[in-house]
């Protein structure tokens, strides 16, 4: 008997701007004691389906058009609010993506933990506290009794997620719905949390519905995988069936988009374009006594024509290092020599001349374009500033750029908010290329994009790099992406350079312990088999 049987579920949204069918006739089952994963990109309707079942979709804009969701014999969609509430938090529990915003910052975590217990099981405060501390221990929180009265902001991201998991499991639910629970976490923490969820599921014999955009993440733990696209379920099956015998073109596209393989290692001639010596970028925030050592004594060389991958988790300093090379972050000490000139000594017009030769592509395609400038203006700005062309040839130059990055010329007068994330990133790449730079720092350029778009943009970057003979510093936290496009790799941890070497050397024979743990955390072991 299935734990959850969803049949022909349809959900739509109706706003002033129009109606939108978010979920169309979706049917699936979740078996007890199994992990079922729902995979989809943004707009696939994967989250909406689950929220709708629990009545968590606000029904003025949303509307359940039809279908049923049988849980233990009762149709969740037909239940009244009171009955649904009894099930929520007791028989079906949810954990969400961002534990920082999902926990009440004004309440101690202990209070939040015991809430479902007291609400559904009527325990006294004392008994509930004992139970809560047991659970905190089970999810791996150290000294749980002491942390009972702490506030969410006192925990790290991974710890907070553990608290959320404890809170969800405290009433021993039969079904746990996890909505992208590891997306906001560092890769090593992600591995730990995945492990935790898998272990808890086994020990407690519950069913898990795991929502994600990342096939690699669920490859290791799912028993069944469901693929959704634009509100429709396109395929489902066991991991083996999906990964090795995918039927639907969309599934195949998703699989193809997973970064794999590696750059054909052309031997790069050691010809340093950039030489960094003992670089320190320290920040001195006003309310802290200790400076934040974002980049702490880093020395490296980047050779002409190579793609250097810079990998690390949050707080490693990789973004700050990239920005420091471009003089976008205040360098405290050390030197950055670009083609023979020390950039740290330059100001004003000499610096401006060098800026033309080095550009940056930023992570967030929504924030890196001025929302009040059209594409034309955004591309014209660097062209005119550095006199790459004069006003007569401006149109032609912009047209060429648009073609290079694969954007239709007809879009030239549109504003950033009228484009998708992938298109905006293309505009940003176009802007970076406008000054015909020799060196580009790409700071997590694809991390904010859907996986299929990610693949396209990576392809574009590689092609453009080859075509224009660019030297690139590619910063990312995603090891798989780095492996695909970098010639050499550097690993950073807490401001320091931990290891560097050729890509295959690092991936095949990592020397440092941290590098090894990073590599071990890459999800999708099942895929590369």
């Amino acid at each position: 008997m299935s734990l959850l049987k969803v049949d022909n579920l349809s959900v739509s949204f109706h706003t002033r701007n129009g109606s939108h069918q978010a979920v169309k006739n979706v049917s699936f089952t979740v078996e007890p004691r199994e992990i079922t994963a729902i995979i989809g990109e943004s707009g696939s309707g994967k989250s909406v389906s689950c929220y709708a079942m629990l009545g968590l979709v606000p029904t003025p804009p949303g509307r359940i058009d039809g279908g049923s969701a049988l849980f233990e014999g009762a149709d969740l969609l037909a239940l009244g609010e009171r009955e649904l509430r009894a099930i929520r938090g007791r028989d079906i529990a949810m954990i969400f993506q961002d534990p920082m915003t999902c926990l009440n910052p004004f309440m101690a975590i202990g209070q939040q933990l015991i809430e479902p217990l007291r609400l559904h099981k009527g325990l006294s405060a004392k008994d509930a506290k004992i139970r809560a501390i047991e659970l905190l221990d089970e999810v791996g929180i150290r000294s749980p009794a002491d942390t009972f009265d702490s506030y969410p902001h006192e925990f790290s991201g991974g710890m907070r997620q553990r608290v959320m998991i404890a809170m969800a499991l405290i009433n021993e639910p039969k079904l746990l719905i996890a909505d992208e629970p590891t997306t906001a976490l560092d890769v090593t923490i992600q591995a730990q949390i995945l492990r935790l969820i898998a272990d808890l599921q086994k020990n407690r014999d519950i069913g898990v519905l795991f929502i994600s955009h990342d096939l690699a993440v669920v490859a290791d733990i799912a028993d069944q995988i469901i693929v959704m696209e634009q509100g429709v379920m396109v395929e489902h099956g066991s991991p083996d069936a999906i990964f090795n015998h995918a039927q639907h073109p969309y599934t195949q596209k998703l699989l193809a988009a997973i970064p794999s393989g590696h750059r054909t290692a052309e031997r790069i001639k050691p010809d340093p374009l950039i030489a960094v010596t003992h670089l320190r970028t320290w920040f001195y925030p006003s309310n802290a006594r200790e400076p934040v050592k974002a980049v702490d004594d880093v020395s490296l060389e980047i050779h002409r024509g190579e793609v250097l991958g810079l990998v690390g988790e949050s707080g490693s300093g990789k973004s700050t290092l990239g920005r420091s090379l471009l003089r976008l972050a205040p360098i405290t000490e050390g030197s950055v020599v670009f083609d023979g000139t020390d950039l740290t000594q330059l100001e004003g017009n000499p610096l401006k001349a060098f800026r033309r030769r080095m550009q940056m592509i930023f992570q967030d395609p929504f924030a890196s374009l001025n929302p009040r400038m059209t594409v034309y203006d955004t591309l014209a700005e660097p062209l005119l500033l550095h006199k790459i062309c004069d006003r007569k040839n401006l149109d032609a130059a912009i047209a060429t750029l648009m073609d290079d990055v694969g954007l239709a010329r007809a879009f030239i007068r549109k504003y950033p908010h009228e484009f998708s994330g992938g298109q905006r990133q293309r505009i940003a790449i176009g802007r970076a290329l406008a000054t015909k730079p020799e060196f580009i720092v790409a700071d997590e350029p694809v991390s904010a994009l859907d996986v299929t778009i990610q693949a396209q943009i990576l392809e574009l970057l590689v092609a453009l790099g080859r075509e224009h003979g660019l030297t690139m510093l590619f910063v990312s936290h995603d090891m798989a992406v780095i492996r695909q496009i970098a010639d050499r790799v550097m690993v950073m941890y807490q401001g320091k350079l931990v290891e560097q070497g050729d890509t295959e050397e690092i991936f095949g024979h990592p020397r440092e312990a941290y590098t090894q743990s990073l590599l071990a955390s890459i999800p999708g072991v099942a895929l590369s088999a």
Binding site: F96, E115, E154
Partner: protein, 312 residues
């Protein structure tokens, strides 16, 4: 937390000092002395009076003498009412104004918070539009318009409530309190609505619902804590505004409070009275701002921890 409080208190002291100094020199630099407007005074008598009030000393000496008196809590004698000191007059009016302010604030908080929270629960529906329209009226109708209107309707036409005095006739505290409090009820209603809307759209409210909590618990236990912080922070400026508003309300309803004395002193150029009242009121305002700032900060656990030092 203690360190934060200390810093804030130390920041407030120069402000008070600036107030005292600026007021002193401003008042003294105005043309004309306190006795110039009176009936003609014989020069010798005028000189004697000036000596008595230390007006014949050089300005900076008067300043330091004043500071010295202040340190002892002595705000000096009144020019207008010889024989009475500023302290005396101030403290006769203070309880009245304090009571008026208290009732007004009570009305403002009770009505404002209830209306604002209520409206935030169903935005863009009648439950929202009606209280917020009333709030808009409260903001757009100043106390000096509302007061006379209320007097006209309830005092004169309907003759339900008394329209002057404070504490003389039962019910004479109602109209002034409503007049003074209504604008603040309106501001507080808007603030609490905005604060609640912001909090209700947060992810952790969804988590609370996912735990199966009934909506009223979600609102009271989870949403209110964060949603009302803007209201707490507003209390400091509200206090200053209430004080200023009391000038008008006390004038309209002829209430013998601080506000009315202040306005009269301003007209009469009663130096010590102006000085004393300004210093006193300003210190009160600074103090209240301090309390409201510290409370609002204390209510946010993240800020609280920042000043205790260190996180896990």
């Amino acid at each position: 937390m203690l360190r934060f409080m200390l810093i804030r208190i130390l920041q407030a002291l120069p402000v008070i000092f600036v107030v005292i100094t600026a007021t002193f020199f401003l008042v003294r630099s105005a043309p004309g002395g306190p006795f110039d407007q009176e009936k003609v005074v014989i020069p010798e008598v005028k000189k004697a009076l000036e000596a008595q009030y230390k007006l014949d000393l050089p300005l900076h000496e008067q300043y330091f003498a004043y500071l010295g008196d202040l340190a002892q809590g002595d705000l000096g004698p009144s020019f207008k009412y010889p024989g009475r000191s500023v302290n005396e007059i101030l403290f006769s009016g203070l309880p009245v104004t304090a009571e008026l302010g208290f009732y007004a604030l009570l009305i403002a908080l009770c009505i404002g918070v209830t209306a604002g929270v209520f409206a935030s629960l169903r935005p863009n529906t009648a439950q929202d539009y009606i209280p917020m329209s009333l709030a808009m009226i409260g903001i757009c109708m100043p106390s000096f318009l509302l007061g006379p209107l209320l007097v006209l309707v309830f005092g004169i036409w309907l003759d339900w409530l008394p329209i002057t005095g404070w504490g003389d006739i039962p019910g004479d505290k109602i109209l002034p309190s409503i007049t003074l409090g209504s604008a603040y009820a309106a501001y507080i209603a808007r603030l609490s609505r905005a604060g609640m809307l912001e909090i209700l759209s947060q992810d952790y409210i969804r988590t609370a619902r996912a735990k199966g909590l009934p909506e009223w618990l979600v609102v009271t236990r989870h949403a209110l804590r964060g949603g009302l912080i803007p209201v707490i922070a507003f209390l400091g400026p509200a206090f200053a505004g209430l004080l200023a508003g009391s000038f008008v309300v006390e004038t309209i309803f002829q209430i013998p409070g601080l506000g009315r004395f202040y306005v009269q002193a301003a007209f009469n150029r009663d130096y010590t009275m102006i000085l004393g009242t300004t210093v006193f009121l300003s210190t009160l305002i600074v103090f209240f701002n301090l309390v409201s700032d510290i409370t609002a900060a204390w209510l946010n656990p993240r800020l609280r921890a920042q000043f205790k030092g260190g996180s896990r």
